[in-house]
Amino acid sequence: MTVLTGAPALSFEGVGKRFKDGTLALTDTTLAASPGEFVSVVGPSGCGKSTLLRIASGLDRATTGAVEVASAQVGYVFQDATLLPWRNVAANVGLFAELDHLDQRERRVADAIALVGLGGFEKHLPHELSGGMRMRTSLARSLVLDPDVFLFDEPFGALDEITRERLNDELLRMFAVRGFTALFVTHSVAEAVFLSTRVVVMSGRPGRVIADVPVPFAYPRSPELRYTPEYAARCGDVSRYLRNAS
């Protein structure tokens, strides 16, 4: 993938965050993602990865530093699917579009449901779905917005290995179709390397960026990439940084 120039789609400039109880979650974090980049963030538990996303989305405010998001619509996929249990798949997928008063809601919902492969399940309630399908619904809910920037907060952490890999493959396909900029927080080094153009490693609390590892593999990436020595080598690099981080 070529290095994109111009203004970043998403940037953190010396961002720090201290919670009300005095805990310092982030300190002097500087990080930018160019349009069309897929940046993963890995780091030890409690290093402020999720806080970074909450700040980018506006759910939380940085104590110091500056954050810029060059996008009208930001997709945000949480750790849990956070579906409303009384709404069926189609109505859950349409929630954000509804809250933002977007036009052509039905078409957007139908497109997003098709893109995540949930056609035929529109009328199902969340409790009737598997964990993977719930996560697909959650993804579709943000895809409806056609966002330029997508924030992922360990979306596949609770899924089994096979479901996770399949959703990784499909996420890359969506990335290719929609061409968004992604900031993807995860615990899994394998997942980070497989998905990303760059993997950012953060230190333990208070979190800050300690390494920035480019992943040079071309897109589209085939599932077979996971079994190549080059891929294993990159995973090794990231893991070494991560071990020093904690």
Partner: protein, 291 residues
């Protein structure tokens, strides 16, 4: 990377977990549930009737028997006698009127109060203690005040009914409105949803199961409230409570017990109705969501 490998096409239907279960245990479970839901309560009913006969025939001597006449006497005099029966039905009609009016007002006032309290902590802090006080008020002591303002007919009865059934609606609705998880609220915050949108699309639907639980408790209480009201405010159409007071003073045990049982049946009917309504409205997503 193909789309269609992992999920069925649009014509397929997701497997129903119940349908996947082997047939035999399902049948057995149904039989088991019939035993649990019908036969066991019937068996308890038999024990109660037996105990009733035992007290009436063995414990009480004939002079005392008016206090608890045996079941068949209650049935014969209190229910099967045509004039008594039609009197009781018209009293039941009056009591229903008071109950439904009281419960209706309670639901409207209770839900409104809870919605108001859910909007700001200071409103909750100012109002909620008074809802608790209202519930603990000895209503009977206030009957003279009520009659001063509203006379002795239907209005004060409805007011007693409201006071008695109000609290569970307020507390359950408020608790329900506050039950939506923080992550769900984040979704709405993220998209700058206003108070009304948040209330309508998140808090109220999330509160429904608890609201219905409150309605069920309030439904039973509203029957009690109506009867207590009728016991004291005797002008106008007689209700079941009015008759209870009359039959007590006349020592008409058979009609007294027939009225007591009718009142309790009314309570059960309202309770069951709200249970049914609750299953209709939230059963599809709530019960199965818990399991």
């Amino acid at each position: 990377m193909s789309l269609t490998t992992s999920v069925p096409t649009s014509t397929s239907v997701a497997p129903d977990p119940v349908a996947l279960a082997p047939a035999r245990p399902r049948v057995r479970r149904r039989i088991g549930s019939v035993v649990v839901r019908v036969l066991l309560p019937l068996a308890v009913f038999g024990v109660i009737i037996g105990a009733w006969y035992a007290v009436s025939e063995l414990v009480l001597n004939p002079q005392q028997r008016f206090m608890l006449p045996p079941p068949h006497e209650v049935l014969k005099v209190g229910v099967l006698d045509g004039q008594n029966f039609s009197d009781m039905m018209s009293a039941l009609g009056t009591t229903c009127k008071v109950t439904f009016a009281g419960l209706g007002i309670s639901i409207v006032l209770g839900v409104s109060a809870a919605v108001l309290m859910s909007q700001a902590k200071w409103i909750e802090n100012s109002l909620y203690p008074w809802a608790v006080v209202l519930q603990t008020l000895p209503v009977l002591a206030l009957t003279p005040v009520f009659s001063f303002f509203w006379g002795f007919a239907l209005t004060p009865r409805v007011i007693v009914c409201v006071i008695i059934s109000f609290f569970p609606i307020v507390s359950n609705t408020l608790f329900g409105l506050q039950s939506a998880e923080r992550s769900m609220h984040d979704l709405f915050t993220l998209h700058r949803a206003g108070r009304l949108t948040r209330l309508w699309k998140l808090q109220l639907p999330a509160a429904l199961p608890m609201m219905f639980a409150g309605f069920r408790v309030a439904a039973g209480l509203s029957v009690i409230g109506a009867i207590v009201g009728e016991y004291y405010f005797k002008q106008g159409d007689p209700g079941l409570g009015t008759n209870l007071s009359v039959f007590t003073s006349r020592l008409e045990g058979e009609r007294l017990w027939a009225t007591v049982l009718t009142a309790s049946l009314l309570g059960v009917a309202v309770f069951v109705f709200f249970g049914w309504l609750s299953r209709r409205v939230v059963g599809r997503w709530y019960q199965s969501n818990r399991s």
